[in-house]
Amino acid sequence: MAKGDPGGTTRSRRAAPRSRKGATGDPELVQLLTPEGERIDSVTGPDGTEYRVDFTDEEYRGLYRDLVLVRKLDAEATALQRQGELGIWASLLGQEAAQVGSGRALRTQDMAFPTYREHGVLYCRGIDPIMPLGLFRGVDQGGWDPNEFKFNMYTIVIGAQTLHATGYAMGITMDGKTGTDDGEAVIAYFGDGATSQGDVNEAFVWAGVFNAPMVFFCQNNQYAISEPLERQTRIPLYQRAAGFGFPGVRVDGNDVLATYAVTRTALDNARHGQGPSLIEAYTYRMGAHTTSDDPTRYRIASEVEAWQAKDPIARVKTFLEKQKIADADFFAEIDEQARRESVDLRERVLAMPDPEPVTMFDHVYPNGSPLLDEQRAQFSRYMESFEGSAH
């Protein structure tokens, strides 16, 4: 049937969704540093907001250091998994700029709610990078204090944390902690796949209705395990925000400067009482979903290569070199620092002891439970019965 034919017969819908192109085609990106390392002074986002950054040379170098370190520590964790020291690892390879840019945009008082992949944000929050490795090694379930570092625990159930973040943000409003420069804001991280979850959509509703000081930060790395973006949406994700009544913007997630600028603006808007916003950091997962995944089953090498050309670290390096902000000595020094820190990480992971089995009974309830006390005692007696035997 010809296009536009108003004929009454049922049209086949077996074809791809109509706006397929919109979901993956030419994205409107906020970008301040091109893949070729060229600086763009300022950019206007879809809602008319102007984005720019004004960093000192020292700050540029600091961002580069963060990116390199985060990548190196991630590579070390991947290697540790391959050697059987971690049960599994969710690598952030390719997503360093999205995480460092947004992580550095947080102010001390801001609270972050991560998924299981936010090792770069964790690093920016000042948490020892060994911390998430306990979870992936299977010796604990994440060991840092979320209140101290203003970085919540990793969340594996997809999307659940977006509601916690929204509730936390509502609490900020109730506490009257918005409306000034030292007001608080909240950022919730999630993936493109997560946008399909009920929880995430409910979080959008709540944040909008309660004008919560929230930034929804979606790292669109193009896949949810094997499923490409088109399996989750037929419009660009940032456009979803409009339907919930708050602004959405798509930023080049491989551009640390743009990610920083966009996140800083959104957080500042939130802290000043202007409510939530959605950031879609358009990026790419260069490796496997996790070390248990086999990406060759669902994506082709040329796609990966195309994204490698947009590497988030290479473009900063080119820029620093071109602008003579950093020299060869600096780059060598950073590489050496990254090497040292990864060796240190490895040594400490290998030294991580298994927990005492009886600790599994700890912290089930703040007020304890007679049932558990009994089970713990029984368990201890049972374990003692093996002592001295060849068991």
Binding site: R14, G87, I88, Y116, L135, F136, R137, G138, V139, D140, Q141, I156, V157, I158, G193, A194, S196, Q197, G198, D199, A224, I225, S226, E227, R231, Q232, S292, D293, D294, R297, Y298, D354, P355, P357, T359, M360, F361, V364, S369, L371, L372, Q375, F379, Y382, M383, F386, H391
Partner: protein
């Protein structure tokens, strides 16, 4: 007779393939079930052969998977939903217990929801949190649902097809740590004549103690029985296969002979299936019992970090210990 050696995972895959071949209304839906073949590869190759209209990669939304499957079922399809891991069924829990389970009842029999909800369940694979859970009691407690679990490749192959053919909504629990275990499968086993879906089976006869288990623990109990035999004790091991409804006729008959019963499951004991089994056996076999029915289970804690799960999960020693205790009364 076409007999092949298959793993439980491959037997499920073969059973699903048969179901897709035999009934054009059968559709498989879930996260990553297509090109990837599921994270455990249980649906491997099915999308390639049956197309993406019948083996559907769904958006990442469990409530959506089950909820839309309800509509598809009302429309005459037979959806087979894969929940990627036990810990991710809870976003769909509302749809399962409030909608799937009650449709038939609420419509006074006018609607049926012939749906299968496949869930890899239980521990033993050293995974991170939410990847090792034992949610069976939640579902078995819900009227309107049926709950089954396979423990060997032959059952995996037959039971998945029987479940799909059934008009009841069925929660199909797959013992994920056993996916890679092999056994003989008779591929020609006719489904209607084969062992009925909701029946228990004696998998090792014995005279001294009756041991009841299902899913991943069946294997553990068989190993315990082998070990006990070396000490001169004969354990009779019963694979329950169906958790709702429970088929306890074999168990009653067995306990009346042995006088002793041990129930083994990975889920926590408190308000769990073991409690139901112990109560029913006590009611039915009171005068034959030489000792109380004992339970060997996981503990009443959240599933612990992987490096201590060996202590959390019932193992051969804990089963044998319980067997010893039944003789201490």
């Amino acid at each position: 007779m076409a007999t092949e050696t298959l793993t439980i995972g491959k037997a499920l895959n073969t059973g699903l393939r048969r179901a897709l071949e035999n009934d054009p209304k059968v559709i498989i839906m879930g996260e990553d079930v297509g090109k990837l073949g599921g994270v455990f590869r249980i649906t491997d190759g099915l999308q390639k052969d049956f197309g993406d209209q019948r083996v559907i990669d769904t958006p990442l939304a469990e409530s959506g998977i089950i909820g839309t499957a309800v509509g598809l079922a009302i429309r005459g399809y037979r959806p087979v939903c894969e929940i990627q891991f036990d810990g991710f069924v809870y976003p769909a829990y509302d749809q399962i217990v409030s909608q799937v389970a009650k449709m038939h009842y609420r419509s006074r029999g006018k609607l049926s929801i012939p749906m299968v909800i496949r869930i890899p369940f239980g521990g033993g694979i050293g995974a991170v949190e939410h990847h090792s859970e034992s949610p069976e009691a939640y579902f078995a407690h819900t009227a309107g649902l049926k709950v089954v679990s396979c423990a060997n490749p032959q059952d995996a192959y037959v039971m998945i097809q029987q479940a799909i053919a059934s008009d009841d909504p069925i929660v199909f629990l797959e013992p994920k740590r056993r996916y890679w275990e092999k056994g003989q499968v008779d591929l020609d086993a006719p489904l209607s004549d084969a062992y009925p879906l909701h029946s228990a089976r004696v998998v090792r006869p014995g005279t001294d103690v009756t041991v009841l288990a299902y899913g991943p623990m069946v294997r553990t109990c068989l190993e315990a029985a082998t070990a006990a035999a070396e000490d001169g004790r004969e354990l009779e091991v019963i694979d329950l296969r169906s958790l709702s409804p429970l088929d306890l006729s074999a168990a009653y008959e067995s306990v009346k002979r042995t006088g002793r019963a041990v129930v083994v499951h990975e889920a926590p004991s408190n308000i769990g299936l073991g409690a139901e089994l112990a109560a029913r056996i006590t009611e039915e076999c009171f005068y034959s019992l030489e000792s109380p029915v004992l339970r060997v289970t996981g503990f009443d804690t959240p599933y612990p970090a992987a490096r201590v799960e060996e202590e959390y999960l019932p193992d051969l020693d804990r089963v044998l210990d319980a067997v010893d205790r039944t003789f201490g009364w």
